[in-house]
Amino acid sequence: MTDPAITPELVQKHNLTPEEYEKLKAVLGRVPTYTELGIFSVMWSEHCSYKNTRPLLKTFPTQSPRILVGAGEENAGILDIGDGLAIAFKIESHNHPSAVEPFQGAATGVGGIVRDIFTMGARPVCAANSLRFGPITAAGEPGPAVANNRRLFGGVVAGIAHYGNCFGIPTVAGEIYFDPSYEGNPLVNAFCLGVLRHGQIVRGHARGVGNPVFYVGPATGRDGLAGAAFASQDLTAESAEQQRGAVQVGDPFMEKLVCEACLELLATGAVAGIQDMGAAGLTCSTCETAARAGTGIEIELDKVPQRAPGMTSYEIMLSESQERMLIIVHRGREAEVKRIFDKWDLPWAEIGVVTDTGRMVVRHHGQVVADIPARKIADESPVYERVAREPEYLQAVRAFCLDGVPDTTNPAAHLLALLAWPTIASKNWVYRQYDHMVRNNSVVGPGSDAAVLRIKEDSVPAPPNAASALRPVPEKFIALSVDGNGAYVYLDPYEGSKIVVAEAARNLACTGAMPLGATDNLNFGNPHNPELFWQLKESVRGLADACRAFNAPVTGGNCSLYNQHPNGPIDPTPTVAMVGLIENPEHITTQWFKDEGDVILLLGELVDTSDPLLGLGGSAYLQLIHGMKNGTPPRCDLAREKELHLALRALIHSGVVKSAHDCSEGGLAVALAEGCISQSVARATPRLIGAQVDLTPLTEAPGRDGIRLDALLFGETQGRILISVDAVNAAKVLAQARILGVPTARLGTVGGDALRLQVPGAELNCPVRDLHDRWWNAIAEAMH
């Protein structure tokens, strides 16, 4: 087969600008071959090169004494958790593939991030995800758009379940929002965390000239050809159609075997470097390993296992067939690779060798089809400082006031409606499809503010046979939360992004955990659009400031730009997964109320009265009840947040806190209701408990009189946490909290079979059974 001639049209089709093409020629010193053009197009795509975002990512805080492998160094960052143990974690998007084929798109998203983790030498021990879809409910008869949103949502969830369940990793946390801005462009961000000993960290380096290069895993097919490039352009009907011919299909069974075999092989010490074949497959893994090590690499494509006959070198290099790994083995120890991969009945092939030329050389049918300076293509990719301009819509957002918004006249109905709003409603329809308990470590599963996972002996990869010399693994507890309210970020990218991080940290604090670090996924629109780029820039500034405030360095992440659909771009949606540590199992705290007679306290201000919108800007209440996504979102005071989290942890450590739950979407009323209804004992068996709360005395304080009822109940003032304590401790806790500098108020008591909420001029009396059933069944009803 003859390769097509390199024409300007072909260059353009590869998403390279004329300037980039000139640069490419300068790097090569000549006109590229067709295969080389393909290689450059994926390596220099946004997805692989971060050409539009690298300057921004540099502003993240990335240092802490716990960092063992920092952001950008490897496939995932690694943090020390003490006693010689470490965790590797990362979040990654699979948005565009999921739009084309939701089941396989989401499944392979999970597969990809799990590989990134075991590539570091860690045993993957839990997964999480962050999802966005268009609305799945409609006021009247649902139209085709809603039907399509449901199809995407159902498919994505089934795909995640399929992959994670079969692989055997518990999916313990996640978050989902439904909003029209994601119609046709769902977001699927998958997170994975693994555990290892410090000495088990491995690198994606092609080290040791003369070392053989192995390919392991299933044969290469034409799947996902140039997927990285696809992810780096606007999602259009046309681009999606092109990608259809080449959907990647995941095989979680294969991945489980590849993972176990790789961990077994790593324990032998025979491996010099290892890297998964993720985006841009063989291209990216060979280039990057050589570039990192400053070596060269030569591979022979005829030796690469192939699934389809007659594959061209272009296709083999750009294929994104799943579950494949590239392993550089110390020369002389090839037999160990063969022994272990044969034991697991896995295909493997020796396809090349590490060289000292600094070049990535690819041969096929006896000819050199690519010969590229590895470090240059990896390191000298174009970098752009895009133009940023504040979007016009923000003027209207800032001008928004509550004057035209009537106060709630039926707070009980509005509370029920909010609880049944899919974004707020229980996500049990989703997480009951995920095995969230496999591996016997899920101490707090999905359904509380943050998940808590136990680390124990079998959480780390088995050491080599000299195992007895190693210290036993002490039990430790990792807390995990994923957050990202896109509406807030849309309405104020800087403040909104601070809130994303603050909420993740608050969720960790509620379980008793101390933040260790964070990973982020930047889901934004086309960076060439100055207004969209401004959103990105401001958002990164907010994320960075907040991560700094909580001492949560960013250990890595992923960028997904070009998220858009025919009606426009998505809401800018940075998602943040924050990981924390709990040293003592007795400190693990859940969000639901525990016992009759316990006292409910509010840590934080009842309402931020200095906010003209009283916390209603961008709120779920305004969106759902008044159909407005408008107004400046609540302000996030990082210093006060930090004090609040410290105080809560101190109270939890003193052993008096029986439950802790932060106020987020839906405000105080929803948080109280969730305290009453969110504990599930078993299938169809919630543990319901009522509460009696009187807010009237609190509204008599100066500055708060005459406060709007909707703001009081449903406003989303930040920095608020509900806790419950035994009545005998209540006074002590109030005093302690004040000493810790956090405003604290007694709201009422736990008990009865209804949530009774007294507010000036009204009393809500909602049987907990009703609250529960609306909240628990809402998504299942929409999906039925």
């Binding site: 084309v100 084929e101 089941f103 396989q104 299933p218 097919g221 034409r222 799947d223 259809r244 011919g245 080449a246 959907v247 990647q248 299909v249 095989d251 069974f253 294969m254 699934r307 389809a308 067939s321 799943q322 009945d345």
Partner: protein
Amino acid sequence: MKAKIVVMPKQAVLDPQGKAIQNALTQMGYHGIGAVRVGKYLEIELTNSDPEAARQQIDAACHKILSNPVIEDYRFEIE
């Protein structure tokens, strides 16, 4: 009348199940087993009497919900 529908993964699409079955058969000692592909088979009772209408209807259903055109092909007979 009855529609008999076969839905198969597209040739270019990975069929991990087929591969696993092929390996299992070979390991169990069956000889000469080549590629295995696994799909779905549906039988739908049709209470309509017009075969041409039925054909159109089943074709539409195959396209819209019985197969996933992104990764699967289908064929059918009406009997």
